[in-house]
């Protein structure tokens, strides 16, 4: 599977995703500069974490209007897969590629900590190797991760099963305490109706090696690779 990792000015998880894809998954991967518009040869584009353009106006706002994100629209229309983590999720929402918006954490502080996620939707190429209700452990690291959408959008997300991950306790219970940022309905990740664009605040690339304290993030990458083999429909073109 050919991966691209997008680099915006201010991105910092780019090297981490690149490392996991090439050194752990042994898949071909290249960096994609934010001005690039040619993505056709890729199967999966990753929008990594960081502070693109300093996140100075709103997180992801400026990057959400950049050439590479414009090119993503065609890429997605052609069946390409997009994974946005952390700042990548914020960018996808700002670009309108995913519904909703990410706002300042309710505690008004940055939070870097381990979090538990319950898997709600396994009908995506990113999660098809997981079980519904499975609890994953992955770190978060953000100051603006509180997911918000209006009531109508939330209803639509629920109706079409577009919520992929929710913050939970270690045993999978959804509680207020397990919500690290005040997200609406404990939402940690959502997907587009086609299942091809996933945005999530947690960092799967930081949970892809036993030495780093866990491999639950790797399960997502393995789902992705599995989906390519099992189901040609996720291949674009």
């Amino acid at each position: 599977m050919r991966f691209g990792v997008v680099v915006f000015p201010g991105t910092w998880s780019d090297c981490d995703f690149h490392y996991v894809v090439s050194e752990v998954l042994h898949q071909p991967v290249r960096y994609v500069w934010h001005r690039e518009r040619e993505l056709r040869e890729l199967d999966c584009v990753i929008l990594p974490g960081g502070f693109s353009y300093g996140d100075y106006l709103r997180a992801g706002a400026v990057a959400g209007r950049s050439p590479v994100v414009e090119a993503l629209r065609d890429f997605v229309a052609g069946g390409g897969l997009v994974l946005g983590s952390c700042n990548g999720f914020q960018i996808l929402c700002e670009a309108g590629l995913l519904p909703g918006v990410l706002t300042r954490n309710e505690c008004l502080q940055y939070r870097c900590q381990s979090s538990h996620l319950v898997v709600e939707n396994v009908d995506t190429p990113f999660t098809r190797g997981l079980r519904p209700g499975q609890v994953l452990t992955m770190p978060i690291s953000h100051g603006e991760g509180k997911y918000y959408a209006d009531a109508e959008t939330l209803a639509r997300l629920k109706q079409h099963n577009l919520i992929v991950f929710r913050y939970a306790e270690a045993d999978g219970r959804i509680t207020k305490q397990s919500n690290p940022n005040g997200s609406l309905d404990n939402i940690a990740g959502v997907v587009n109706p086609e299942g091809t664009v996933l945005g999530m605040m947690p960092h799967p690339e930081r949970a892809s090696e036993a030495a780093m304290g866990g491999t639950d993030g790797l399960l997502m990458f393995q789902s992705l690779l599995g989906s390519l083999v099992e189901d040609g429909s996720f291949l674009k073109r």
């Binding site: 910092w12 981490d16 502070f51 300093g54 940055y110 939070r111 870097c112 100051g143 030495a211 780093m212």
Partner: protein
């Protein structure tokens, strides 16, 4: 020369912080009166901050070389070889005064400054550590400072994308009017690709890169006096504002342009900005520099040469490139959307020439600027010290309830969990952090090798106050011991020396003694000091801070898999206490937290024992024999055991027995150097005993892990018997309850 600026007189020079002698020296070397801009150069470059006028003679006592040293003091940061072709570049710096004035921006720009020191050397920053000291938390002003400083560090480090993996926060009333914000940064670079701040090759172009120049931080303390300010009422803000986003771009652009081979030398514009770079870089290379100030990218209009030269705007560098390769340099910076402007060239003749639209505004020999006078001011042991030291803590009554005393200690903000701070810091970006904050040292892997680095900062102002020489030596030992307990072999030291005014003999005495102590410990432990920072004048209205050397140690683990953390891992492990028995309540956390007293004598330090204990712990960790290893410092053996019980993900109880030959509170809470608590699986106890015998250190088994309580007895007397959940609660909330 430009007539727009005031004529220089002795009075003006005095106002600028120079002495009459210094001014005479300038007059005689120049053979004329300096221009206003030139006076600014001297005022900044001969300031204590830039020139180390009062500290240099003492600093030369520190051991600075060793087989692994690739770069000692004198560059932006030091560098140590770690094998496999890699080097670590590291340094610690203070930003105390700016953080007191504006805690958020002061701390943030402190982080920005030390990051630049690391990446100007060609290294990619991989870790930040923050060592903080504040007054006591019952003052609202202190709480504001704490939240401001921590969020400033969080903002800058997180946005830039370097993990903050360790540090300390301690509290004492002496820091109320003068908090300490010391930040250490560690970077990685190929050992043969270290860049230096040189200006070689006359004719080579000099580039200004990074953020534009504004009137930030022009040393208002000296010259921005009302006399020359047309708008005296709207006093110029001298606070610098950080821009971590631009710094990140600057990092990527600098590392990329260095890879082209077009860079001869580079230095970050820190204190004294452009003035510092344009004199220090040529001074190191025996060259000169000729720069046109009007070409300097400016954020504000109407800046004078003086202001352009001395601005401390952040996120800027001066770069000397190879003539003929200018386009490559411009290309890289353009890609990262940063200014890169050729402002002049390297010259021979050893002079700095600064022009404004062609007209010379300053022309000074760079060696004169770089060679500030050095002083050896008088030192004198403070008259009150002997009395403080003579106090016998054992003249105080014993606590009625030792368990309650332990809980009180765990709740003391200096000992309690600092998670409230470090959970605001990204600790993992770069995916190298194998041991996150919360253990003795952070451990980071070196990708592409089997190795890892262990890093820690330590410093105990109370101990240094009571005995500057031994206290400072103990700080070196503790930082190194934290690294050793994690499995790392200490390789190098950086130090940040925070003291009061060196013009007071008793402060300078503390300083001189502390340096002796650091030097002694570093020699004994084979640790070169490859860089550091001196911060004097940490006092308010004549009241100095506790003398606080903060020591940063970087160590190497040959096998990243062979590392240890401080918390107990489960039931049935045997617990050993390594190191000497002799401890003291003098200067202890117990004496402070319980009695509010800072007095007494420290337990003796034997550096040979220290060395052997550390070697023994490392040997045990790297043999895979220990399941936990924890340095035993503030709060003594009882606190070390309690931390073993409660700082991990799961609570683990413990039953332990301490020696009977001392008073109970001394045995429990007494502090002394060279001690560590380790746990060993019962099945491997024999192997461990053999290894300890070989190491020839004092040690003994003191207990076993397991259960839900921490039980400590002396002989048959049970002194402490407390539920681990209660201990945890005290430790978790002791600091956070003040700031949340």
């Amino acid at each position: 020369m430009t007539g727009a600026e005031p004529k220089v007189t002795l009075d003006l020079a005095l106002e600028a912080g120079l002495t009459a002698d210094e001014y005479d020296r300038i007059l005689s070397r120049l053979g004329r009166e300096p221009t206003y801009a030139e006076l600014g150069l001297f005022s900044a470059l001969w300031s204590e901050h830039c020139a180390y006028k009062h500290s240099r003679v003492f600093l030369s006592r520190l051991p600075q070389s060793g087989p692994h040293v690739l770069q000692g003091p004198g560059e932006n940061a030091g560098a140590i070889d770690i094998g496999d072709g890699w080097a670590v570049v590291f340094k610690i710096e203070s930003h105390n005064h700016p953080s007191f004035i504006e805690p958020f921006q002061g701390a943030a720009t402190g982080v920005g400054g030390i990051l630049r020191d690391i990446f100007t050397m060609g290294a990619r920053p991989i870790a930040i550590l923050d060592s903080l000291r504040f007054g006591e938390l019952d003052e609202p002003k202190v709480r504001e400072l704490v939240t401001g400083v921590v969020s400033g560090i969080s903002w800058y480090g997180n946005c830039f994308g370097c993990p903050t993996v360790g540090g300390e926060i301690a509290f004492a009333p002496e820091y109320a009017g003068n908090p300490l914000v010391n930040v250490m940064c560690v970077g990685l670079v190929r050992a043969d690709q270290i860049f230096r701040a040189r200006a070689e090759g006359p004719g080579n172009p000099v580039f200004y890169v990074g953020n534009k120049t504004g009137r930030d931080g022009i040393h208002g303390a000296t010259m921005a006096s009302a006399t020359f300010d047309e708008h005296a009422e709207e006093r110029r803000p001298t606070v610098q504002v950080g821009d971590p986003f631009t710094e990140k771009l600057l990092l990527e652009a600098c590392l990329e342009v260095m890879r082209t081979g077009a860079v001869i030398g580079i230095q970050d514009m820190g204190a004294a900005g452009l003035a510092c770079c344009t004199s220090e870089m040529p001074a190191r290379s025996g060259t000169g520099m000729d720069v046109e100030l009007s070409r300097v990218p400016q954020r504000e209009t109407g800046m004078t040469p003086y202001e352009i030269l001395l601005s401390e705007s952040q996120e800027r560098m001066l770069l000397v490139a190879a003539r003929g390769r200018e386009e490559e340099v411009r290309g890289v910076f353009a890609k990262w959307e940063l200014d890169a402007v050729e402002i002049g060239r390297v010259t021979d003749g050893g002079e700095l020439t600064a022009r404004l639209r062609g007209e010379i505004v300053a022309r000074v020999p760079v060696d004169l600027l770089a060679e500030a006078p050095k002083y050896r001011k008088p030192t004198a042991e403070p008259s009150w010290l002997a009395e403080h030291r003579a106090f016998d803590p054992l003249s105080l009554p014993e606590p009625g309830d030792y368990g309650a005393a332990l809980v009180q200690l765990l709740r003391s903000p200096t000992i309690a969990s600092k998670e409230w701070a470090f959970r605001q810091y990204d600790q993992q970006v770069g995916i190298n952090t194998l041991v996150l904050p919360g253990s003795d040292a952070a451990v980071l892997r070196v990708k592409g090798t089997r190795r890892a680095l262990a890093v820690s900062t330590d410093g105990n102002g109370r101990q240094v106050f009571l005995d500057p020489r031994q206290g400072a030596a103990m700080a070196v030992c503790e930082a190194a011991r934290n690294v050793s307990c994690s499995g790392g072999e200490p390789r190098g030291v950086t130090d940040c020396l925070n003291f009061g005014s060196p013009e007071r003999p008793e402060i300078l005495w503390q300083f001189a003694e502390a340096i002796e102590g650091i030097a002694l410990a570093c020699r004994a432990l084979d640790l070169p000091v490859v860089g550091g920072n001196v911060s004097f004048y940490n006092e308010t209205s004549g009241r100095a801070i506790l003398p606080t050397p903060v020591i940063g140690v970087v160590g190497v683990l040959d096998d990243a898999g062979r590392r240890a953390t401080q918390w107990f891992k489960g039931a049935g492990h045997r617990v050993a206490l390594l190191g000497p028995d002799q401890v003291s309540l003098g200067g202890s956390e117990y004496l402070w937290a319980r009695w509010g007293r800072l007095a007494g004598a420290l337990a003796p330090l034997d550096l040979e024992t220290e060395r052997r204990v550390q070697a023994a712990v490392r040997a045990a960790v790297s043999a895979g024999l220990v399941t936990a290893a924890h340095d035993c410092s503030e709060g003594g053996a009882a606190v070390a055991l309690a931390e073993g019980c409660v700082t991990g993900r799961e609570l683990v109880g413990c039953v332990a027995a301490l020696t009977a030959d001392a008073r109970a509170d001394l045995a429990l809470f007494g502090e002394g150097p060279s001690r560590a608590v380790v746990t060993v699986e019962a099945a491997r106890a024999r192997e461990f005993e053999a290894l300890m015998a070989e190491s020839a250190i004092p040690w003994r088994w003191i207990g076993t892990t397991g259960g839900e309580r921490l039980v400590i007895r002396i002989g048959t007397r049970i002194l402490v018997d407390v539920d681990t959940a209660q201990l945890e609660q005290a430790w978790r909330t002791g600091f956070e309850r003040h700031v949340a």
